[in-house]
Symmetry: D3
Amino acid sequence: MGLTHFDDNGKAIMVDVSEKKETMREAIACGTITVNEEVYEAIENGTMKKGDVLGVATTAGIMGAKRTFELIPMCHVLPLSGCKIWYEKDPKNRTIYAFCKVKVTGQTGVEMEALTGVSIALLTIYDMCKALDKAMVIGDTFLCTKSGGKSGDIRNMKGHEKAFALLERTLGE
Amino acid sequence: MGLTHFDDNGKAIMVDVSEKKETMREAIACGTITVNEEVYEAIENGTMKKGDVLGVATTAGIMGAKRTFELIPMCHVLPLSGCKIWYEKDPKNRTIYAFCKVKVTGQTGVEMEALTGVSIALLTIYDMCKALDKAMVIGDTFLCTKSGGKSGDIRNMKGHEKAFALLERTLGE
Amino acid sequence: MGLTHFDDNGKAIMVDVSEKKETMREAIACGTITVNEEVYEAIENGTMKKGDVLGVATTAGIMGAKRTFELIPMCHVLPLSGCKIWYEKDPKNRTIYAFCKVKVTGQTGVEMEALTGVSIALLTIYDMCKALDKAMVIGDTFLCTKSGGKSGDIRNMKGHEKAFALLERTLGE
Amino acid sequence: MGLTHFDDNGKAIMVDVSEKKETMREAIACGTITVNEEVYEAIENGTMKKGDVLGVATTAGIMGAKRTFELIPMCHVLPLSGCKIWYEKDPKNRTIYAFCKVKVTGQTGVEMEALTGVSIALLTIYDMCKALDKAMVIGDTFLCTKSGGKSGDIRNMKGHEKAFALLERTLGE
Amino acid sequence: MGLTHFDDNGKAIMVDVSEKKETMREAIACGTITVNEEVYEAIENGTMKKGDVLGVATTAGIMGAKRTFELIPMCHVLPLSGCKIWYEKDPKNRTIYAFCKVKVTGQTGVEMEALTGVSIALLTIYDMCKALDKAMVIGDTFLCTKSGGKSGDIRNMKGHEKAFALLERTLGE
Amino acid sequence: MGLTHFDDNGKAIMVDVSEKKETMREAIACGTITVNEEVYEAIENGTMKKGDVLGVATTAGIMGAKRTFELIPMCHVLPLSGCKIWYEKDPKNRTIYAFCKVKVTGQTGVEMEALTGVSIALLTIYDMCKALDKAMVIGDTFLCTKSGGKSGDIRNMKGHEKAFALLERTLGE
């Protein structure tokens, strides 16, 4: 077994999934951005009153998730059946957690769409706040959970306990 | 002073840069991906013999950097004059460092293009290796250096000493 | 009941349609552009002899309809099974009526695709004629008919009797 | 004189602007959407508390304006120097007025960018509200003002007095 | 019978395929580029050691194949289930043969996707080598084989014996 | 000297053109498609009466030329100042010659834009006629002329005498 995105001669390919079963698949990804106090407050205020940084980032993230196949060379064109982006905040560390959940009924999974949605949302936050903070850091971006594919359900909690606590708070709502 | 991407009523805008001076601007961004041993070796081998994960990621990252204006809502259309992506490896931690340097002669900076280039390259690595590792993590993505704009030169070394050591090794070549 | 493109917390989402039934759906949209005499004649002549304004607008409109999911943030990626754009003319008012019919077999409707197709076609007419008329007006753009979805068949004739007369003339052909 | 988007043989062309002077150009376009009471209230509430329809539409409109060259066949690629979208409301008629102002320093005007920005914003409002109103109408979309080009300043107030009154209210702020 | 991309009035349409059967379809296209000795050697060396022209071209070709629906006006949006690009070389004539195989389960064929994949790959080779050869020629691009549609299997060997010999060498591996 | 799209380590880069002089540049490319009698007549008739294959192909080609930077990985974003596509016919061989002329004032040439414009136009002709001819061939695509860059004027007439005769007929008009 090896890298499925290469054929036996080591050439990059878009994997043939035509024999795979069409199932309902779901993936949730998470990523963070850590900002200075000025930005953290601007985002907080924005969300509540005006200057809605997270609103713009959500729109950009959903649009980005839909365009994953244009951005990531070997990703399949997938007619996503749903996409949702939301945020949790860790005020102590001035960190925003962005989550993206994607669903599809198809022959291949949507982890890349969820990860791309998170990345574009975080980059958008960065862009909108960079006048106030030149040293923001986009932190760990990873796949939280995945279900519906051949490789079984995945749950990457190890090392990401905090993100999972926030995730469960949302999902439990 | 506040978030420049919002007007006085808190509405998101694409900032008017028509009065800003056209200067040569440059930005370098960095990000990482940490993988398991099997993937790390596959990438190493790929680069040397076949299955060139990093080659595909470079192409995707450069193409992504050029399309930043389509992905990040308030970014300007910028005719980049150059873009380069390269990698450094930390075998002990099985971490790949991706760097993206972007140049433009224009009225606004290219930090978003450099960050987007890095993000798309890292997502591409993720995509091509995800069959072998379900728990990869895309780590700190940040702006290393920036020059040429009104806000002066930026150098975000603090907290990123390792990335800077690798960056200087490349630039010093 | 409320705006389906927002979740219970008021966050914008791409609606989850994974449980909806896949049916054959169709939508027809209509819009107009009113121009001065010089342009009206140029379009008339163009269609007959050379300088085919409406031909270019049709191509642009069909291409735009296919890209609706890239333009309208919460629209789903839909593999349209057919798209057609055509025009009817009202010489007395120097008004061009553009119609766009879209079909899909899917879990969500195609009214946005039909409306986007009409809008891009009309904007293209505007672009190609703007040297001759600085005061053109793109008039009422609306959904004429829709069929195949859960909400039943729709027929928005009220207030649009003229457009419907022209539409029926075409469909009756 | 005739349609500049066609050559002497009537073939569509992208006009050669290489000899035109590079000047600062600006255009403002306007369009409307008229909705039922339920939607009008949802939009009002959304803007104030949650479910921000107009915020999503603004983001989509700005992104659409930047991509005008991809959508309108004969439009030039223009590195817009600024883009702003805003709304005025006419509660009596349950009509939303969308305005888009675009600036560029270039060899050709930005009226198409302003009109495209308005159209995509209005289509986005339509999309987000269509569950509550199947009969919305996107009304007159037109160029309000234009400045900076060879053809002199344009001001299309005739027949659009209401839109101009709202426009001046905003610009006078 | 006539051109299916036009309706009875001669207007261009995106053909309605909603009544066609969904079957597994495959197409292979081929095209060539002939270069001077310096470039031929650079490509040979690149593939083996560094400066991987064909690797970049493969990535571009696969990405181009996925975007066929955006580029070719009347093509349907197709969720390709697989795409592969590879090369064969004719050293005597300094000619590179590019092949692209595309698969889909759908209502319409993928010959345009295969042809577009080949064209974009060849254009990419041209771009990367044009500093060394100002007179390269992209030669015959054609559909080699097609299967799975209503019109039966196609095999265009006549006049393309050399390409077919190379194709069979690969497929026979 | 070597492949400029690779750095000294053989990594693909988007060449830094920031030090190059901004000059007016122009390129003309040519390509052909050879079709059977039925298609040749359909195209002839289409151009004259209805079913305008070449009109759709022109629109697609111009749009494709503008998007070259999205398709060819190492191409720069170029704000083309003009683009024109036209055709000449060789009835004896049932061959259509497509020409694309592109102009820009910039730091790098537009041969790739001209070649991409030609390729997309030819692929569009193929798409629109493929119901009538399963064995069309897109023939030699090459750069005819180029001017305005550092490498001096280029004129690739050798081996392309026929195309040049047709080209001069057009330019001499």
